[in-house]
Amino acid sequence: MKYVDEFRQPELISRAADEIRRLAGTERHYRMMEVCGGHTHAIYRFGLKDILPQNIELIHGPGCPVCVLPMGRIDDGLSIAQQPDVIFAAFGDMMRVPGTQGSPLEHKARGMDVRIVYSPSDALKLARLNPDKHVMFFAIGFETTAPSTALTMMRAKAEGIQNFSVFCNHVTIIPAIRAILDSPDMRLDAFIGPGHVSTVIGCRPYEWIAQNERKPIVVSGFEPLDMLQSIVMLLRQLQAGACKVENQYKRVVPWEGNHAALRAMAEVFQLRPYFEWRGLGFISQSALRVNDKYAEWDAEQRFQVPGIRVTDPKAAQCGEVLKGVLKPHQCKLFGRECTPEHPIGALMVSSEGSCAAYHSYEHRKAAMVTSLTSIA
């Protein structure tokens, strides 16, 4: 494996790893949650667990939007697209996510008009190009993608494009963190804060975590050195008894966030009273719906939506894995019935899902341990 060669600044990584070992000592066990799915992917890809001392445990958080979407929402979206002359448009991430009757890709094979788009504005473009069809954009994502959906809807309204709607599944990260902190079986010492979500929301929304919950949080970049530095910053806070929001990813994340993006979200969306998260259950005020000003472009107001609720397969333990109570490989289905090729749970679908990340890199672990010991 070439991972280690690809690390930049190996001497800084080595120094950060030494500092982590020094700070962590051996007396205490530290549980830190990385909130973002991108971090989860990076942790497995870079084999960071093998660099970290054993008393630092990384818990994978809920920050993979595909993974936390309940199956019923996929069924609801597909049921709209089953109506005549409707085009189902979604990001590629969604295409293999299983609904009760199969994934969007499987529906496409059965004749549904399913299109991959790489931007919500291209879903709108599809609507312009297909005036005799209705294009429904299946929107997912945290605050990184929600502003783009919002601005696209503002453009649809400004242009008076009527054959376009959004099936909105946008979720917000803060209530999910709150739900995890409220969960009785969850004990955490600190958070590695999401990188690109924070580009939009800034660092202020995390202040309650530090002030009220007394947990340090460091917004982090995605490179190995970024994450190790973030862990150093968290350990320093924990040792000093400090609880602050710190920004390790200053080169990308402004403390105040992106106001234009927040304004676009405020123009188009409002908070849902509650929304179901896979594995976490119903969380109040944790997701966005389209407000009445944009009702004409809201698929849920425009079409009959069955409101399907699907219980996850009993044997699958996605919820426990999502909350960090179980490690991916401790799920009964992991690597047997549920694999990246044939996912049963959504955590196995996206490369940002902890099960898929674990599955992809676990078998390379032995090789990495050998090479990493040379730098760590």
Partner: protein, 120 residues
């Protein structure tokens, strides 16, 4: 969907100040600048792009850093696939294909997308 793609603004559309041509390692596509309303970029500036929208202005140094991060994460192919997909270039009736570079002429590309398409 957490990862952003760095691109350099090549030009801003004369008829639409919120539409810009960006260059991402040689691939040029139109992106939307509407979410940088408070801090408008100019040609030559670097931006981080999420799903076809510029989300923040960054330095050239940080843009190259971000590209390196994508490379280390094994996400370069996915990122380039995303960028190439902006503007629906795989739709035969797309009026904007003039911007598309030669690489997108690959007949197998849309097939690959159906298998592996993902947005980070």
């Amino acid at each position: 969907m957490c990862l952003a793609i760095p691109g350099k603004i090549v030009e801003i559309a004369s008829d639409n100040p919120e539409s810009a041509l960006v260059d991402v390692v040689g691939v040029r596509r139109k992106i939307d600048l509407g979410l940088l309303h408070d801090d408008k970029p100019a040609p030559g500036d670097w931006v981080l792009i999420h799903v076809g929208f510029a989300m923040s202005k960054i330095s050239e140094h940080d843009a190259l850093d971000q590209m390196n991060t994508l490379r280390m994460l094994g996400e370069i192919d996915g990122a380039m696939q995303e960028v190439k997909g902006y503007g629906l270039d795989d739709q035969g009736d797309d009026p904007d294909t003039d911007d598309a570079d030669a690489e997108t002429g690959d007949a197998g590309l849309s097939e690959v997308r159906m298998k592996d398409g993902k947005v980070n």
